[in-house]
């Protein structure tokens, strides 16, 4: 089936033409940014200009930009690197305060530290809208402030689009001198992200979520953030991330970041209008569909402008996904798979949604190529898909 509507921009959003042009040119140029000769210096110049552009887009200083391979590496470096550093200096400092709805790149890094290195984790809860309460973070810290190595709370959730009170939580953490990390992978290009103003010490970004290439990202790290690196080698990126710099990818990311920042106000308005049309349209189909989390028409402060998350009672998400895919609609259930098998979403469960209710989840995410026609195609395909998915569920559940 040919694709009629791509509604999975939170998974990856198409690279912009300007980005493709920049990467292509850079690939043809070549050069290792660590080399001292002419072509090496040229590559170094591209990397540093890109660093400045990315810093400008994210509201940080160029020296705070550490280039990585993407969101997962940045999250791992922030969480493990900080925990190793802080705990190494003080064995009592082994506690992590982590958002319950974090991406697996944070969750699984934390699980690793808990299961293999003796870390202790306290989860920061979310309410029915997917948002956390800074006063709970305060309460968790004040139980024993000297034991906390790091607070990590995502800027915006990848499944339900809930925007977290990052600045408030950062200020609570700082009262006790505790560093704060935020995974802003989904936020960039959808809400203003200003690293310095947020007060965070560490911030994760991934290029392909805002129109750049896959396989390149950033960990923004304050100059005084102290981290043990994950990889050792040539000492690139403040000794924090050894390895030859991905110059074409970095240049592509810088172009994408600049465009995303410039276009943010118009983009936000466009995406929110499409999102509202999609959610309203789905709720009006009379299929008992529910929207997950907070949704106010026009709002871009509680929920990402490009995120719609629906729950369809009586359906399995994977059936819906297949039926919509067969009808040319590309979307997601939002939750992680294990070998292709959908697992009930930890995000929805943390929001107090039952396992059964979480099964019929559908995540529709919009981006810079989205149009009215995409939303219309989805709404046109949805009723037949829901009908069949409901029959399939009762068929495969019943015994013979």
């Amino acid at each position: 089936m040919k694709s009629l509507a791509y509604l999975d921009h939170a998974a990856t959003t198409p690279a912009r033409p300007e980005v493709i042009a920049a990467i292509t040119e850079e690939l043809a140029t070549g050069g290792n940014a660590s080399s001292l000769h002419t072509v090496g210096r040229a590559a170094r110049k591209v990397v540093e200009e890109s660093r400045e552009a990315v810093a400008h887009a994210l509201g940080c200083g160029p020296s705070e930009v550490v280039f990585t391979s993407g969101g997962t590496e940045s999250d791992n470096l922030a969480v493990k690197g900080t925990w190793w550093q802080r705990r190494g200096g003080d064995p009592k400092r082994n506690r992590l305060l982590i958002g319950a709805t974090e991406h697996h790149a944070v969750l699984d890094a934390v699980e690793h530290l808990v299961h293999h290195e003796g870390a202790i984790v306290d989860w920061i809860d979310v309410d029915r809208s997917g948002r956390s309460d800074p006063s709970q973070v305060r309460e968790l810290i004040e139980r024993d402030p000297d034991s906390v190595a790091l607070v990590s709370l995502m800027w915006a959730n990848n499944e339900v689009g809930a925007i977290q009170p990052v600045a408030d939580v950062a200020s609570v953490a700082h009262e006790h001198g505790i560093p704060m990390h935020t995974d802003a992978v989904q936020a960039i290009g959808q809400v203003p992200v200003d690293f310095t103003a947020s007060g965070a010490d560490l911030l994760t970004a991934s290029a392909h979520k805002f129109g750049g290439p896959q396989g390149v990202g950033v960990l923004v790290a304050r100059r005084d953030a102290s981290l043990v690196p994950l990889t050792h080698g040539g000492g690139q990126e403040r000794q924090l991330r050894s390895g030859t710099l991905n110059t074409p990818g970095i240049r592509g990311m810088a172009v994408a970041a600049t465009l995303a920042m410039q276009e943010l106000p118009q983009e936000q308005e466009k995406l929110a209008a499409l999102r509202d049309k999609l959610i309203r349209g789905a709720l009006d189909l009379g299929l008992d569909i529910e929207v997950t989390g907070a949704h106010e028409v026009g709002d871009v402060t509680a929920r990402l402008a490009g995120n719609a998350h629906l729950r369809v009672p009586g359906c399995d998400g994977d059936s819906l996904l297949y039926l919509l895919d067969a009808a040319g609609i590309e979307c997601s259930t939002g939750s992680a798979c294990q070998a292709g098998v959908p697992q009930p979403s930890h995000v929805l469960l943390a929001m107090g949604i039952s396992e059964d209710d979480a099964r019929g989840a559908l995540r529709l995410t919009l981006g810079h190529t989205s149009t009215d026609a995409d939303v219309a195609a989805f709404l046109a395909a949805l009723p037949a898909a829901v009908d069949r998915a409901r029959r399939a569920r009762s068929a495969s559940r019943g015994g013979r």
């Binding site: 297949y322 067969a326 070998a339 292709g340 098998v341 959908p342 569920r393 495969s396 013979r400």
Partner: protein
């Protein structure tokens, strides 16, 4: 037709899927995730639902150019196949889980879900043939008798057969491997899966013991004299000779076999080979590939997977079947299925409840 091709990740289902595509059907590949725990059972390289197997199936689907999905049927598989398997052994019977899986998962849960999603049929890589003949849609043995799997499909009824395709039944296994290689499938040389997919190391006795705990009991001879001990009668099968560890030898030195398993008293009975011969087989849970036959039927009866066929006469009544064999068969365990043939055509099947001598 719109067809779900069940893709295990093995060579057979890979070729079956591509043959369906070439026959002009609109095909979607589906890998069934049957293991409850992604982290444990799936680590096996020999089972039929490891992560590698799902990946192999996905690569074949890529190559054939069809959509591919993983459907999670682990809960149904656990309830209908694994728990049934344990319950059968606990009751002193020897089940065939592949047959149960075909009956309740592949041609029930999977087929029903596929139909509800708008598909017309399911295709698998089983070696068997479907023929439109005088009895309607008929199930026949595969041309490759060494690979023939009509026995484990003997539980399918006419409705299920009408919705099934077995595209490999007219070809021998070596030719299927050649075809897979010619199509450039990475799985062309992948070893056949055998044994029971959810018992990764093939140690059924150990697996059952882990589940049910050690239950020490006595091994007795047909006079009731204790000749050994065991750690659970559930682990023994009628006809078994190896691994009995008998302490008291027979005076005449004759080999002894398990001739009966008595779960109620946790007793295993051993006896000489002549006691294993039976020529009457009674089964229940009869399934017919068409209408239930009336009167006495001349049949060929197959009593275990890849076992030989015995000529005989079958009578069906109220979901029960009695088969009188023309000659004696050996070591037929309750719980196994008897599948009845008319020539190469499968007539029906039943689960063996008891055996006897006429």
């Amino acid at each position: 037709m719109r067809v779900v091709a069940a893709m295990s990740g093995g060579v057979d289902s890979a070729v079956a899927a591509s043959r369906m595509v070439e026959a002009g059907h609109e095909v979607v590949g589906v890998h069934l995730a049957l293991s409850q725990s992604a982290a444990t059972l799936r680590e096996s390289a020999r089972g039929c639902c490891t992560i590698e197997d799902a990946g192999d199936a996905r690569r074949v689907a890529d190559k054939v150019g069809i959509p591919f999905y993983v459907w999670d049927m682990a809960q149904r598989f656990k309830e209908d196949v694994v728990e049934d398997f344990v319950a059968e052994y606990t009751a002193g019977r020897t089940p065939n889980p592949c047959l149960r899986c075909n009956e309740r998962i592949k041609f029930a849960a999977l087929l029903d879900k596929a139909l509800a999603l708008g598909f017309d049929a399911v295709a698998t890589g089983h070696y068997a043939q479907i023929v439109d003949g005088p009895h309607g849609r008929e199930l026949h043995r595969a041309v490759d008798m060494a690979k023939d799997q009509s026995y484990v499909l003997g539980v399918l009824d006419a409705d299920q057969l009408a919705r099934s395709f077995f595209p490999l039944g007219d070809t021998t296994k070596p030719r299927i491997r050649e075809e897979a290689a010619a199509r450039g499938f990475s799985v062309a040389k992948k070893p056949d899966s055998h044994d029971i997919c959810f018992i990764a190391d093939g140690d059924t006795k150990g697996w059952l013991t882990q589940r049910l705990g050690e239950q020490p009991g006595e091994i007795v001879d047909t006079d009731g004299d204790v000749v050994g001990e065991h750690q659970g009668a559930f682990a023994y099968t009628v006809g078994q000779r190896r691994g009995l560890g008998l302490k008291v030898p027979r005076e005449d030195g004759a080999k002894r076999y398990v001739v009966d398993v008595q779960p109620r008293t946790n007793t295993v009975v051993v006896g000489t080979e002549d006691l294993l011969g039976i020529d009457v087989v009674v089964g229940d849970h009869a399934r017919w590939c068409g209408a239930e036959p009336t009167g006495e039927l001349q049949v060929g009866a197959q009593l275990r997977a890849h076992g030989e066929e015995f000529a005989g006469r079958a009578v069906a009544e109220d979901g029960r079947v009695t088969v009188r064999l023309d000659r004696r068969a050996r070591g037929v365990a309750p719980g196994q299925s008897v599948v009845l043939y008319d020539g190469t055509r499968v007539v029906g099947s039943a689960t063996i409840t008891s055996t006897g001598r006429s």
